[in-house]
Amino acid sequence: MSEFPGLLNYWLVIVMMMTGFYAMISRNNLIKKVIGLSIFQGAVYLFYITAGKVFAGTAPILEEGFSNYSNPLPHVLILTAIVVGIATVAVALALIMRIKDAYGTVEEDEIQHQDKIR
């Protein structure tokens, strides 16, 4: 298997992961940070699914005429991770809502500014 098409997914995973990571660190707006977090986690889902793909394999359902199946375990694992990801985003957004109530803003520098004044 040559490097280019075979490992393309992994390259994409890295690009996507770094995009999310960068957004998480550099953005000032808390909502954008959460979006970055989602992209970051999405990259990991893609990474697991890629790892589970078997070339020319079908969905792992027993059926006449198919003997080559993709590995279903990473899908199951990632289903769990997606649930966790949704929960994380929900908790994060709920926190942001309460931050907005308490501070009146969702910009990190303004929040820090308000805390310094007190």
């Binding site: 940070k33 986690q41 990991v44 990474f47 790892a51 966790v84 929960a87 926190l95 931050i99």
Partner: protein, 492 residues
Amino acid sequence: MIATHLPILQVVIPLMAAPLCLLLRRPRLCWALSLAVSVIALVIALLLLGRALSEGPISYALGNWSPPWGIEYRVDVVNAFMLIIIAAIGTIVQIFAPRSISHEILPSQHTLFYTLYLLFLSGLLGVTITGDTFNVYVFLEISALSTYALIALGRDRRALTAAFRYLVLGSIGATFILIGIGLMYMMTGTLNMADMAQRLQPMLDSRTALAALAFLGVGLTLKLALFPLHIWLPDAYTYAPTVVTVLMGVVTKVWIYVFLRFAFTIWGQEFVFTEMHLQDLLVPLSLIGMLAASTAAIFQRNVKRMLAYSSVAQIGYMMLGVSFVSQTGLSGTIVHLFNHALLQAALFMALGAMLLRVGSPLLDDLRGIGRQMPWTMAAFVLGGLGLIGVPLTVGFISKWYFILAALEKGWWLVASLILLTSLLAVIYIWRVVEVAYFQQPDPNTTPVKEAPLSMQLPIWVLIMSILFFGISTKWTAGLAERAAAWLFGGGP
């Protein structure tokens, strides 16, 4: 029949109690339930330790799927010891909780507090007991998500930003761990720790293995708050309700345990330390962490934040113990997991009792508190002495091991730095003592009463055990040595 199912009951009882608590709705009933569950968890952990000591590791197959395929719960001396720490601190905190949360958490959220606590407990117990790497991730997130919500229960609005920052950094750490586990799964095709350890050995020099080690290393050190990655910790500790702060002290310890599990059981100390020289990175980071955090603690005006920085320094000690890569150093780390759990719980709870009466953790507001709350302040001083490492307290036992391990290696500089940080601890504890005993209270404030019995009792139980385990080390240090020997033996 029950005996064979103890490993799963350890996790499932708190897990089932959490929704029950939600259904009960009455805070008082929820409190009774979570206290009962914590006590049961402690009893189960003690029974498991007894069995692990006499019969060797216990394995439990979930859903009757035998180990390499199904999820396995595996209890040996190391994690049985850790389970006891978690359950014991949980129990003590629950005795302390009702009075403490009565003024630190809104009454309408008390039921939620107990529900979250039970989820948190089952998450931590699950991380510790499981023998399956992906299961570690799942329980990690159960405990982490409940921690974020628990911190946000704090009444100060800065609790919200602290919780959010912890959420972002904690999720990065967790995702890094998930990537590391994924890479290891790609190489070995298994998630079971024991099986993975065997299959990983021939592939250790591949690039995938190195990437997995890097991801796991960063993820775990972020979670356990080693020096440069500790930035989430001080805010979260300071603005969370006191009971939550005590509980969070256990979280970092569980992550140190997971680090030990991955480094020694799965990767093997030969690869991690002899080939990869991870200690070359860990020793300086731990030392800088100890010095920087202790120094930062001296300059804090908020006592809670001061104790938070002291916790960062203590994490430095524990990671230093690991990076000696000797049985003495590792025993020191494991015994300090227990000892510091007692110390930080006692200190934060004494501070929580003062918060109940004074309403502020600032040093200026605690003037003259030593005469108004003599018992609580005495407990704080004794806990502080333990933190410094005065003989006859548990702190001395751990420091003894660390210094012994440093001298074994001939690292005189490291040994003297350990003593130096103890001196820094003397300074920051003394600042509180001075304010509490030698300064007059502000005449404009009304004098406060001593803390109620329901708070005194758990604090003094902790102080007594700090003194008891400082004198009789048979159970703590003896067990820690067995656990360290077990990890060095490379057993699963």
